[in-house]
Symmetry: C2
Subunit: 317 residues, 2 copies
C-alpha cells in the first residue's frame, strides 16, 4: 500500500491547476449567528463537473505516461467520480469507460457521456459489476482509477484543503462529509503536514454510519447498501482511506435524514448555492454539536452540486 505524501499533493496541485477551478470560499452571517462559529464554506459544488472529484480524477489522468494514457482510463461509479473521470479524460483526449448499474439515473449516464466517456452497464450487484469491469479492463488495457482508494486520487483531493488554508487564515477545524473517505483522506494528508494544529472532523449520515462505527471499533466496518438521501456517502472505507481516518481524524459526527435535508435547505436559502444532500451533512452535524464548534473558525467543504433539480428532497412528500 503506497501512502501518498505531501510532495504528491503539491505535484498534484501544479499538475491539475489548468484543469480545475480554484473554488471560492463563501460565508454567511446568518449561519455564523445560528451556530456560534465562524464558518468558511469551500465550494467544490462550483468545481469543474460539479464536484471535488475533478481534482483526484484530473491528477490520475494527467499523471499517466503517454503509453498508459493511450489505453485510456476506467472506473466503476454511479456518482460524481465517473463524471469527473470522464471530464478529466476528455480534457486529455483519451478514452474513458465507466461501469454503471443499468438502474443508475439517466442523468448520471448522460453526464459521463456529456464529457465524452463511454458507459458500460452492469447488473446492480457487486458480482456483476466486478465481472463487467474485469472484461472492460481486459479488452481495453485501461488504467483503473478507483473512486477513492487510490493514492493519486487522494493526493488530488488534498489540493482542496491546500487552497482553503491559502484562502482563510487561522482555521481551528475543517469538516467534510465522509463516504469512502477520499476527501477526508486528502484533507488529512494536507493538513497533518501543513497545519497540524487544525482539527479534522468527518460528517456522516446516521443511516450510513459505517465510518463512524469503524472509527469507534478501530477497524473497517462495511455496510451493505445503506439507504440515505446523501447518496454520495454510501460506500465503505478501504485500507488507504482508513489509514488516514484512523491516524488524523479528531472525530466523526452523524446527522439524521431530516437534519441533513433541513441543513441542505438552509444552505440553498441563505447561501444561494445548489449543492447535493451529501454536502449538507457537515452543517447538519455542526448545528447538532454547537458546543464542539462554538467560537471556532471552521472550514466546511461543500463537496458537490450534482442534484436532480426536478425533485428536491424537501419537495418529496
Amino acid at each position: 500500500m503506497y501512502i501518498p505524501s505531501l510532495a504528491d499533493m503539491l505535484v498534484a496541485h501544479e499538475r491539475i491547476k489548468p484543469h480545475i477551478h480554484r473554488t471560492p470560499v463563501l460565508t454567511s452571517q446568518y449561519l455564523n449567528d445560528l451556530t456560534g462559529a465562524e464558518l468558511f464554506f469551500k465550494c467544490e459544488n462550483l468545481q469543474k463537473a460539479g464536484a471535488f472529484k475533478a481534482r483526484g480524477a484530473s491528477n490520475a489522468v494527467f499523471g499517466l505516461t503517454a503509453e498508459q494514457a493511450a489505453k485510456g482510463v476506467a472506473t466503476h461509479s454511479s456518482g460524481n467520480h465517473g463524471t469527473c473521470l470522464s471530464y478529466a479524460a476528455g480534457r486529455r483526449g483519451i478514452p474513458c469507460t465507466v461501469v454503471m448499474p443499468r438502474t443508475a439515473p439517466q442523468a448520471k449516464k448522460d453526464a459521463v457521456r456529456g464529457y465524452g466517456g463511454r458507459v458500460v452497464e452492469c447488473e446492480p450487484s457487486t458480482t456483476s459489476r466486478e465481472a463487467v469491469f474485469a472484461e472492460v479492463v481486459a479488452e481495453t488495457g485501461a488504467e483503473f482509477v478507483h473512486p477513492y482508494n487510490d493514492p493519486r486520487v487522494i493526493a488530488g483531493q488534498g489540493t482542496c484543503s491546500k487552497e482553503l488554508v491559502e484562502q482563510v487564515s487561522g482555521l481551528d477545524a475543517v469538516i467534510a462529509p465522509i463516504g469512502g473517505g477520499g476527501m477526508i483522506s486528502g484533507t488529512c494528508l494536507t493538513l497533518s503536514n501543513l497545519m497540524p494544529q487544525i482539527k479534522i472532523y468527518a460528517a456522516e449520515p446516521e443511516q450510513a454510519d459505517d465510518a463512524y462505527r469503524s472509527f469507534r471499533a478501530g477497524h473497517i466496518i462495511a455496510d451493505d447498501a445503506p439507504v440515505t438521501v446523501a447518496d454520495g456517502l454510501k460506500v465503505p472505507l478501504k485500507d488507504l482511506t482508513w489509514h488516514f481516518v484512523q491516524n488524523h481524524v479528531t472525530d466523526i459526527l452523524t446527522a439524521s435524514e431530516q437534519e441533513i435535508i433541513d441543513a441542505m435547505l438552509l444552505i440553498w436559502k441563505r447561501m444561494k448555492i445548489v449543492m447535493e444532500p451529501s454536502s449538507a451533512v457537515p452543517l447538519a452535524t455542526i448545528i447538532k454539536n454547537k458546543d464542539v464548534f462554538a467560537g471556532k473558525r471552521v472550514g466546511v467543504i461543500i463537496t458537490g452540486g450534482n442534484v436532480d433539480l426536478d425533485m428536491l428532497p424537501w419537495q418529496q412528500k
Copy 2:
C-alpha cells in the same frame, strides 16, 4: 435632478465595503462553448441579503447624517429592495419601514422582518401604496430611499461593475437585466467613466419590454402591471435611470418567458447557483443573439438569488 458622479460611486464603495460581500466571478466552459463567447458571471445572488440591492441600500443608509438616521428609512417595495434596505438599516441599527401590498408573498414580508424592518401593508394599487407611504413618512419623518430612482442607490449599484472590472480584465461588454434601471444605471455610471470602451447591454423580458420600447421611442414608456416570471423586472424607468439608459446603453435585448426559464435552469444545472428568474434574462438574450457576443469577453451580472425553493419555474406545469 442630481446625477451621481464617479466620485459618488467611489465614495459609495469605501462606505459600503464593511457591509457587502465582494462577490465572486464564476465561469462555465459549457456556457462558453454554447454561446461562443467568454462569459464572466458576477454573482450578486451571493451578495448580502441575496441581491445587488444591498449595495445601493447600504450606501443610502450609511450616508445619512446622525440626525436623519435617527428617524429611520422607508420605502415601498415588494421585492429585494425592501429586504436589502431592512438589512442595511439593521446594520446601522436604525428603523426601517417597508410598505408592501398585503398580497405580497409571505416570504418577502418575513425577509424584511428577519432583518428587523417593519412591514406596513397597503392595498395592491398605486393609489393605496402612495397614500399609505405618505402616512408612514408623515408619522416617522423617515428618509425615503427609492428602489432605483435615487442617486445614492445608483452610486451604490455602480460598485458592482467596479469590482467586476477589477476582477476580470479586457471585457468587451457587460450585460445586466433591466427593470427600473438601477443596476444598469450604476453600470453606466461606472463603466462610462472608467472603461468607456466596454459596451453596456440591458436584458429584458419580452412580456415586460417597456425599457426596450422606451429605448427605441426615445422617451419613457411605462406599462401597467406586466406579467412575467422575471418578477424583479416589472417596474418602469424613471427620469434618473432613463438618463443613463439613453446616454450609455448600446442596446436592449429581450427574451421570451420560456427562454428565460430555460436559461435559468441551465445556470442552476451547470453553474450550481441559486438565482432568480430575473437574473437569467441576460443569458437568455446572449443565447438568442450569439452573433452580438461571439468571440467577446462578456461580464454578466447575476442580480439576485431570492426565489421560492418550493416551486421553481420549470416545475410549474
